[in-house]
């Protein structure tokens, strides 16, 4: 009997609940951490491990089987779905977790208040290089951008730059927080990133074109689609979510999770 009990005791760790890993978007990492903390507090049995690295890194981890959930601030690419199909015979599962107004950051001292999409595109592709060209001070525009593994980078490039190349003068920074810090310290800086990172900077009101009204990112404007640069933030799973994963994702998209989404600075999906 003692032997049986000993064997069971030794075998227990094998049956212990495996942590659910969430890896990917740096834009989403704070939100993911807050959601995980709150969920684990409310549901003692599940362990969630959150890490960043960028949307591309998260989806790559999903493809090679090293994460359970990929957090991505851009839709998964066709080429990535092809890899999932080839390796795991699945097209993956998509869960929109939040909406985000992709904000354009300006220094609080910058007299420029609003920008059209075309102006933002021209600034980041290097056609506009001085603030005075768009009604600002006579000063060179300092561009802050993200690394190319970032979903924010990809989304901005696809939607705002219309897949054109970034200016070689754009400085690549690791994470949205670094972009915000840089713009906060640089009167001539401009950056872009999630609406949740707003400390020390000001959002530019964005106009779809010259004739359109200038819109600031807010719950109403992002939800209604009036703000021209809004996107979903996603969780992707390789397989149909396990009981633990499903419970967490259901909770994150439910009232309690969406309240945290709002507190972090993003917008609920429902």
């Amino acid at each position: 009997m003692k032997k049986i009990i000993l064997c069971l005791a030794l075998a227990l760790p094998l049956f212990a609940a495996k942590p659910v890993s969430i890896k990917g978007s740096d834009t989403m990492v704070i939100m993911n951490a807050r959601l995980a903390e709150a969920y684990m507090t409310a549901n003692g049995g599940t362990t969630l491990q959150v890490s960043g690295g960028g949307s591309g890194v998260g989806i790559a981890a999903l493809i090679n089987g090293t994460t359970d959930i990929a957090a991505s601030s851009r839709p998964i690419k066709t080429s990535e779905i092809d890899k999932l199909k080839a390796r795991f015979a699945t097209t993956g599962y998509t869960f929109p977790i939040a909406r985000d107004g992709l904000s354009v950051y300006l220094n609080t001292a910058n007299p420029v208040k609003e920008l059209t999409l075309a102006q933002i595109r021209d600034i980041y592709t290097g056609r506009i290089t001085n603030w005075k060209q768009i009604g600002g001070n006579d000063a060179q525009i300092i561009l802050y951008s993200r690394e190319n593994s970032s979903g924010t980078y990809t989304y901005f490039k696809d939607v705002v730059l219309l897949t054109r190349d970034f200016s070689p003068r754009a400085q690549t920074l690791q994470g949205t927080a670094a972009v915000v810090n840089a713009v906060a310290k640089d009167a001539n800086g401009i950056g872009y990133g999630g609406a949740a990172y707003a400390k020390g900077i000001r959002f530019a009101a964005v106009k779809k074109d010259e004739k359109s009204p200038a819109i600031l990112p807010s719950l109403e404007t992002v939800r209604s689609g009036a703000y021209p640069i809004s996107r979903y933030l996603y969780y992707y799973t390789r397989v149909k979510p396990s009981k633990e994963m499903k419970s967490f994702i259901d909770w994150a998209t439910g009232p309690a999770g969406q309240e945290i989404v709002g507190k972090v600075g993003y917008f609920p999906v429902k």
Binding site: F88, A89, T90
Partner: protein, 376 residues
Amino acid sequence: MKLKLFFAAMLFAATPLLADDAQDDAQDEPTPPTTEEVAGRVKGMSEALTEVRNTVDLLSKLKVTGYLQAQFVEDERSRNELAGAGTRNFDQFSVRRARVKFTYQMTPSSRFVLQPDITSSGVTLKDGYVELTEPWTTWKHTLTAGQFNWPYGFEIMYSSSSREVPERSRVIRTLFPGERDRGVMVSGLGFNERFNYRVAIVNGTGTTQTFDANKRKDFVGRLGYSFGAVDVGASAYRGSDLVATSTSSNGREFDKERMGVDVQWATPIPGLGLRGEYLQGKQAPASGTSRTQSHDVDGWYFYAIQNLGTRHQVVVRLDEYDPDTNVDDNAVRTINPSYIFHWDAHSKVMASYELIESQANDPDDNVFTLRYQFSF
């Protein structure tokens, strides 16, 4: 009292020395830099940082990936190794593939790719091409020039590092030896990235020969469509081979044609994927032939791949190749069960048995392969 006077005298005598030390300390203390000096230093650091960033940015455009396959093969043909001339041992350890792929993406619209294969057999160039992608449409039409995979079917373009059995099916290995050729290709992706096309003009001689034997160039292409879980493709190859015949040592042109379809299905059964491809065509005869026309060939393969969790894969591939459909009982069929254990994201171990059944005079030629692959 005398003692106090003595100490006072000593202190008095030492005062100039202490004063000198204090003066020295004051001289050693660095003068606080001026605002201009600090600004200059910061500017200098900023310039240095910009230089470093420029260098890092350039390096980040270079992507290096690769894989190595070390294996042990036990081949039934080795059983006759003592039978005399013409037989040899096939059981051996080897490095099957060792590829390093260099991709330099200078801009989103231009790319350079070089992939040598370095094994005990020597160094060969696998891929070597440049790509230009047009930036004006969502199709991203791309021009590729150099040496690349024949854009035909599924298995040719599916990387050997991802394939679930050690080698490609017999029909592909025979009709597309080396899987690559030299030429130019146009490709694109449209209709919400569901449709893709690749068409190429190539030498038609593959990569085993340095020169193209004939003036004629070959056409090869594939059209693909994705329905989500199901992907389908139709491929065609049309060209010719210059082959020396029994009546003409200079050779004559023989038709070289292939047409086929391929399907890949991520089934609703968790982790189960199915793949298949069928092709038929005309194949030039071997050198020295007395034939005057190409003969008809056909073949197919079918994969069933079952994932068990994230680490285990059980696979069966069936394939058949008929080297001349007008001749009876000459097809070769292979049953290839395989098991793969994914140690981590970089390492996997494969055990595979290739059961080869020839319809006529089936020889002992089955092959067992145990392979370890590391990729990065």
